[in-house]
């Protein structure tokens, strides 16, 4: 089993090397796209800064705490899109190229995550990390708090990635399209920028379990800033672990159900 995991990880690493070499050929395009992805972080910072400039902000959350939530959301969406681009995956399925890929002796889920991401979304990760570093320092997050945060964040990112992969496959199996995944990503990314409590109980549940965007941005911040109890966070980690397992099984099942467009 360990050898199998190691082999798949090596494939993931090799794929990244090849894809980055490919990007290096079109440097100008790459720089433009990095800049575009960074604009989403700029927009978040501008929005939050103006909100706190003209009002007292959101109940229970200071300016820097809000920036921490927002920057984690930007990093999260950047990392998710780095690994999975629903439109690209659906297109590859439709034109039959995906068939060639899953015939190779690698895990199909790892194969999808290796090859069909948007590499330029790294711009969102970089800009999010810069804002996060600054906001975390200003909000006085300790080293242990930071470690806890990043641990839950990593779980949240994996959970959201697997969720997006699952609904992309489901959408393709049902409708032969993943056209509306972009919208779901946009709404998810926008909703995750703010504390889930502002959406009320239905919104909090929706963005925790239904469209799990809060797991990577809201809960790590809420734990460190003392807005939720340790027990709640353990429960959230449990939900994350369970979701990852469920989504993984669903992805494997949906991969078997999928029919290519033929090429």
């Amino acid at each position: 089993m360990l050898e199998n995991i190691s082999r798949n990880l090596r494939m993931y690493y090799s794929s990244q090397k090849v894809l980055w070499k490919d990007i290096a050929i079109y440097r100008m395009q790459f720089i433009v796209w990095i800049f575009v992805f960074m604009l989403s972080t700029v927009a978040s910072v501008v929005t939050i800064t103006i909100i706190y400039n003209v009002s007292s902000g959101v109940a229970g959350w200071s300016y820097y705490q809000m920036l921490v939530v927002s920057s984690l959301a930007n990093m999260m969406i950047g990392l998710v899109l780095y690994n999975i681009s629903p439109q690209r995956l659906a297109r590859t399925m439709r034109n039959g190229q995906f068939d060639q890929r899953i015939l190779k002796p690698y895990n199909p889920v790892v194969t999808m995550l290796s090859l069909y991401g948007t590499k330029t979304s790294i711009g969102s990760v970089i800009s999010g990390a810069l804002v996060f570093g600054y906001a975390a320092y200003m909000a006085g997050i300790s080293a242990s708090g930071l470690f806890e945060m990043l641990f839950i964040f990593a779980f949240g990112v994996v959970s959201l990635t697997m969720f997006l992969l699952t609904i992309t496959l489901l959408s393709y199996v049902l409708f032969n399209s993943a056209g509306y995944m972009q919208w779901i990503t946009n709404i998810a990314s926008r909703a995750a920028q703010y504390p889930l409590t502002i959406y009320g109980l239905p919104g909090t549940l929706l963005f925790t379990v239904g469209l799990p965007v809060g797991l990577a941005s809201f809960y790590p911040s809420a734990l460190v800033f003392g807005k939720v109890s340790q027990v709640s966070v353990v429960l959230v980690i449990g939900v994350e672990a369970l979701s990852i397992a469920v989504y993984y099984c669903a992805c494997k099942w949906l991969t078997k159900k999928y029919r290519s467009g033929g090429g």
């Binding site: 800049f35 927009a43 400039n53 003209v54 509306y180």
Partner: protein
């Protein structure tokens, strides 16, 4: 002469009509996206215990956010896609020898989709908001709103035409187009009314073409912009449209000399 462009218009109108379900679903998603920001601002108003921020009440803010959400139908410079696709496929070579002027044809091809998306997407949402929010617009405000929407369409598509023309040198222009739409959203009131920005930024931004896509139509519809300011803003928008038209003409003259279609 006119019938040639009318024929192109008719053909592309039929194509655009094929996307009726897509328009409806897009409208739902635009509203859901706006709903997130509405929730944020409701939380801000409640916590701050304010009835208005920079003169904007919570109901005006809600109407504004839904209105600019529906303007999203017009925010993509589709003319750029037409140019890029023709240049990439080599179609431009055959288009240039047809007895119609190619730059006009790109607009005539794009207008049906925008018109249908506006009538089927933006207009119903505006009407629903108007009725639910109990807005009262005068005939002059409605007229100004219509002119502003046309100017917004022209401004974003003239910019699209300039960027699309550059596809001959850059090949892939989607990154730049995305950057432009983000910039319009950020600097043009696509996130919140520009009135909330610091006064100095507000003053500077109002001199640029950015507010004409979101803030000016959204502000007119909600009444955030006083009616007395509207004719001046429309005149400024028209000047920007003319400046961008002039730049488009210059860029096209330069670019059309370098067109060397390969076709794939």
């Amino acid at each position: 002469m006119k019938s040639k462009y009318l024929s192109v218009f008719k053909v592309f109108s039929k194509n655009a009509m094929a996307y009726r379900a897509e328009i409806t679903l897009d409208a739902v998603f635009y509203m859901l996206s706006s709903l997130v920001m509405v929730a944020v601002w409701i939380a801000v108003y409640h916590f701050s215990n304010l009835t208005s921020i920079s003169g904007i009440t919570i109901s005006s803010m809600t109407v504004y956010l839904f209105a600019i959400g529906s303007i999203g139908f017009l925010s993509w410079p589709g003319v750029a896609n037409v140019l890029e696709s023709d240049m990439r496929s080599g179609e431009i070579a055959s288009s240039l020898i047809r007895p119609i002027k190619y730059p006009y044809a790109t607009f005539v091809r794009e207008i049906p989709e925008n018109l249908i998306f506006s009538f089927a997407g933006t207009l119903p949402i505006f009407v629903i908001i108007y009725v639910i929010a109990g807005l009262h617009l005068t005939a002059m405000q409605v007229l100004m709103l219509v002119i502003e929407m046309v100017l917004a369409y022209l401004i974003i598509n003239f910019i699209g035409f300039i960027i699309g023309s550059l596809a001959i040198y850059l090949t892939d222009i989607y990154g730049i187009l995305n950057g432009v739409t983000w910039t319009f959203s950020l600097l043009g009131g696509g996130i919140m009314p520009l009135l909330l920005y610091p006064k100095i930024f507000y003053g500077i931004l109002m001199l640029t073409p950015f507010p004409f896509l979101y803030y000016v139509p959204g502000g007119t519809f909600t009444g955030i912009i006083p009616a007395a300011q509207l004719p001046g803003l429309v005149a400024e928008g028209a000047i920007w449209a003319l400046i961008l038209l002039a730049i488009s003409v210059v860029v096209w003259r330069r670019v059309s000399r370098d067109i060397n279609a390969v076709g794939v």
